[in-house]
């Protein structure tokens, strides 16, 4: 349910689609996006986070992985956010943690997106038995207790940032598959698709050229919201000991390590807690803005 009304094209347009048409479409989206101020604020914050991540070594006052003082030293002029459970600088870990958060959030989202969109598109386009089989796989994944899957998967692979990204990615793609499948299913019978098929276009081409552009809207919205929930998922995994492992500074790991020191050294848990909240907030607000901007029916 979505943007197909606006992007509905005549067969000729679709086949002879030009760059200009796309560009103007995107500038319209941008105009609409700008109007939703929280969305704009979210996007600004996301860009800021990306900058922090890129320039982390320049911004961070200390090394994020080295002990610089006593365990759980409270914040001071020297260490603005204090030291963590073994004496590393919390602020520096927070700054480098931005990288990890974005790598995990965007990386796992990208994996989920690629798997989800491919499977959804294939299921929706071919229909029949293929759809039936893939849909059951999607259902099964949705009905699967993620926890059991994640615990065992993490136990089977070596501990690495890569592992966390892949494990999350391959377990959360079902929502993309569902959305894309539904869209593609309804597009399949459109005139221009039928026309394309009639002039002999091959299936991959039809999917890529005529269908995926139409599902891009909902997928972008889903993806931007997903980055946030994946960052939260990573922190939940850390709570269960399955997240990104030290010394790599991950916000979830920092939060989880600070849990037992919440009474005596609350700064250890509060700093990453605030960082996670702000980041998730930023991605969600941006996602809301995109949703409004990409959904033509919500134009005022």
């Amino acid at each position: 349910m979505s943007i197909q009304a606006a992007t509905e094209e005549t067969p000729a347009q679709a086949i002879l689609e030009t760059g200009t048409a796309r560009r103007s479409e995107w500038s319209r989206v941008w105009r609409r996006f700008k109007r939703y101020k929280p969305g704009l604020a979210g996007a600004t914050l996301v860009i800021a986070l990306i900058f922090i991540a890129i320039f982390a070594p320049l911004i961070a006052p200390y090394s994020p992985t080295e002990k610089v003082g006593r365990r759980a030293t409270p914040p001071s002029a020297e260490f603005w956010l204090g030291l963590d459970e073994i004496g590393r600088d919390v602020l520096s870990r927070l700054i480098f943690g931005t990288r990890v958060a974005l790598i995990v959030g965007i990386g796992a989202m990208a994996i989920a997106l690629i798997i989800g969109v491919t499977i959804g598109a294939v299921a929706g386009y071919f229909g029949g038995t293929v759809d039936l089989a893939l849909s059951r796989v999607i259902d099964a994944l949705m009905a699967f207790p993620l926890l059991a899957l994640l615990i065992t998967l993490s136990a089977l692979f070596e501990p690495h940032l890569r592992t966390v990204v892949i494990v999350i990615g391959v377990t959360v793609w079902a929502s993309y598959a569902r959305v894309v499948r539904a869209e593609v299913l309804s597009l399949r019978e459109r005139d221009y698709v039928i026309a394309a098929r009639a002039i002999g276009a091959r299936s991959p081409r039809i999917i890529a050229r005529h269908m995926l552009p139409n599902v891009i809207g909902p997928v972008i919205v889903l993806a931007s919201l997903d980055v946030g929930s994946i960052i939260i998922l990573e922190s939940a995994l850390s709570f269960l000991g399955l997240g990104v492992q030290p010394p790599t500074p991950s916000w979830g790991g920092m939060l989880s390590a600070g849990r037992s020191l919440m009474r005596n050294a609350p700064h250890i848990a509060i700093a990453p807690g605030v960082a996670i909240t702000l980041t998730v907030l930023a991605f969600n607000l941006m996602g809301d803005g995109l949703r409004d901007a990409l959904d033509p029916r919500q134009r005022e």
Partner: protein, 308 residues
């Protein structure tokens, strides 16, 4: 309709079986079994370990273990827990499930009562301060990790103020904190969902028409729009069931709530496979049924959605 339901149910059985056997195989891939927990630091010979494993049938090939267990399920026997040395899994689930259901039901009601009005109002007053404020608040509810909220609430309301018990499930007072933590997340999701559907409904032709006819906004909202706002509740319930475990486990751990989430996590931790299998099976069934019901309810509430 009946045919549709039958097909969906049959497909559901396939899905449940897929989930069940995959999770079993994955559990078997991970090393360790509950006997390692049973023996602890006791000085023991390999022969004695083997004898204990034999006693619990853990020496059999995995497929024998699985299909024996599955066969028993059809007779209502969900197996026995090794760690609880022979307690029937059915009993364990009957003890734990009501605890989790109570907690989730209460938080669902609380969050519905608070979040739906907020979501509808935010949609009606789009781009107002109220809209921004409530949506930022809702996002906070999603973004704050629930163990963080939980511990903070315990420190404030139990330790500092002394109003509420820090843990347990004995009195009505002990429900307040865990329900608050669960509801804070549900409210957030629910408020966002109902804002979304309401604003979608507001842009529908019939609403525009109703407005054009001169009906006051409030009438329009109550007559046409709230009905749509109920959809997210249905979605929410489906969502809640699918995420029942991951949603409650942390809350159950922190507040020492003896529910399914803790039972499940502990059983995975101890590799007590019959308990894990039983919970996986029940949850998968629940999700499949919930999905079906969600689709049917959608079709009923919103006639535009055809049942395919």
């Amino acid at each position: 309709m009946l045919r549709y339901i039958t097909i969906r149910l049959l497909q559901g059985v396939v899905v449940i079986f897929l989930v069940s056997i995959t999770s079993f195989i994955i559990m078997q891939l991970a090393p360790g079994d509950p006997v390692d927990i049973l023996i602890g630091e006791q000085q023991i010979t390999p022969e004695q370990i083997a004898a204990i494993e034999r006693k619990w049938g853990l020496d059999r090939p995995w497929y024998v273990q699985y299909f024996t267990w599955l066969g028993n399920v059809f007779t209502g026997d969900f197996g026995t827990s090794v760690v609880r040395t022979g307690q029937p899994v059915r009993e364990m689930i009957f003890e734990a499930a009501p605890q989790t259901i109570k907690l989730n039901l209460l938080s669902l009601i609380v969050s519905m009562l608070i979040a739906i009005p907020i979501g509808v109002l935010a949609a009606v007053k789009r781009y107002s301060l109220f809209d921004y404020g409530s949506m930022v608040g809702a996002t906070l509810g999603i973004a704050l990790p629930n163990y963080w909220i939980g511990l903070m609430l315990i420190i404030v309301f139990s330790l500092k103020l002394g109003w509420l018990p820090p843990y347990g499930s004995g009195s009505w007072k002990s429900y307040i904190l865990p329900v608050a933590v669960l509801a804070s997340q549900e409210m957030a999701i629910l408020a966002r969902l109902s804002r979304g559907t309401t604003s979608e409904a507001l842009s529908q032709d019939y609403v525009t028409t109703a407005r054009a006819k001169g009906l006051r906004d409030r009438t329009v909202v109550t007559r046409h729009v709230v009905r749509n706002a109920l959809l997210p509740v249905v979605t929410m319930i489906g969502y809640r069931i699918a995420f029942l475990l991951s949603g409650t486990i942390v809350v159950e751990t922190i507040f020492a709530w003896p529910g399914i989430g803790q039972l499940f996590f502990n059983s995975i931790d101890r590799m007590d496979y019959q308990v894990v299998q039983a919970i996986v099976l029940l949850l998968a069934t629940l999700v499949v049924v919930a999905n079906l019901v969600t689709d049917l309810v959608y079709a009923y509430i919103d006639p535009r959605i055809r049942v395919r």
